[in-house]
Symmetry: C2
Subunit: 286 residues, 2 copies
Amino acid sequence: MKVHLECIPCLLRQALEATKISTTNEIMREVALREVTIYLSNEQWAKILPELGTNVHRIVKRVTGNTDPYNQLKQKSNYMALELYPKLETIVENSEDPLLAAAKIAIAGNVIDFGPKVDINLEKEIEDVLSNELAINDIDQLKESILGSRKVLYLADNAGETIFDRILLEELLKQDVEVTYAVKDAPILNDATFQDAETAGITKIASVISIGTDCMGMLFRECSTKFLKEFENSNFVISKGQGNYESLNDIQHKEVFFLLKVKCPIIAEDIGVETGSAILKRTCIC
Amino acid sequence: MKVHLECIPCLLRQALEATKISTTNEIMREVALREVTIYLSNEQWAKILPELGTNVHRIVKRVTGNTDPYNQLKQKSNYMALELYPKLETIVENSEDPLLAAAKIAIAGNVIDFGPKVDINLEKEIEDVLSNELAINDIDQLKESILGSRKVLYLADNAGETIFDRILLEELLKQDVEVTYAVKDAPILNDATFQDAETAGITKIASVISIGTDCMGMLFRECSTKFLKEFENSNFVISKGQGNYESLNDIQHKEVFFLLKVKCPIIAEDIGVETGSAILKRTCIC
């Protein structure tokens, strides 16, 4: 998805939040925010949003010297989600359609996102997503694709959400598909890294792979060859969250299922749903 | 009030809104927003906020060629407020404390503001402000100051709000003080100009003066000598809205009564109240 004009003030707001989390030094905060403003004023805007977003967060990390500003928030998310894990398992076990229930839980977990919004109520979110219809629900296509597949690539989004992902991963694994779970190579925002996959217990049930870089969403030109091969060799992709949607929504040669909570009005308009919607959307022109 | 880091993304968001109202031409919108981003990246931030805000809106006006982008919204506000005027008069007439009721109405009118927030429900706002205590209520000091005064300067904020101001002006005039109502010399955001004072019927009951420029809030170095003399010769000042608060909150040689709805968390923190508060606050170290 291309950058919209609305993204520019939003990126600057995200940079401000990141600088505030990264350091208590007011001068350093100002230097970081000014450098982001200079970057945005010089950068071409006709790019995909994750390119700008990645650079914005890299500037904040470089200037403040804090390479993992969201670490504490990530640990808090992991802890909160792990506490809920037994309950989530029970919900799926008692469900008439375990795959749909697991997918809905994975989508609910996408509410954990410190980019656009900080305050979250995880339990309420799960209840809301489970008790309502998805705004877009391509679960039948997902079931069909699972039947004809051997290899699935699952693109993680945020730390803590990883625990919700595990619920869906377990259901996928029951269907006799091989799932590879892809995480960021190093911290960016609150995105999941190998450590978060490990905390979620995913390393015990699936292959976990790094995408090879620390970008927002997915920047193919920065990804490792190993990851790119995994992407190409997968039968289909499960993509979590807005960052991955912004990166992959125009892809035409691969079947992708986007699972996300829509938090931004620009993405909502692009998808054709209301902000706040929970969606399971298949994209494939192939 | 000095610029806070939080103001920089907020100014860029305001610029985006202004460009969208100013033109439907996407390229022109991008040029305007980029020019504002360049301006913010080069400008000293250790200034009072209205300096940056003024320049931001001037850039949008210059680039888009639309010198009065909020004209339609202003006319709509005037129309909505005029419809309510008879009801507002009755409220004050039936009030036990007409000056307080009129002041509360003037504060409620300050919700008309297309800077930080577009959607408003005027009737609900009036009810809320009237039925609740003000978060800061210096009405007794205002009454005392009126008794010892001959000349009062009233600094307008937004179009439409002018009609609410008229209610307070009428009460002040009953107290045998001479009131001068100061408006902007030319359009900026939805700030009131001479025409809006005329629409509100204020030109019939009080002197209306231009501050001599089209700044956000009050930039003394840009104001006309005539206005500055009026400011100095007044016994006290009634200042409406956040822009004027940001410009005058540090003033020490003049008694100023700030009447506003607090819409921004930074100002809320500065004043020591919650965002959304309605306040009548006296400032004077003299």
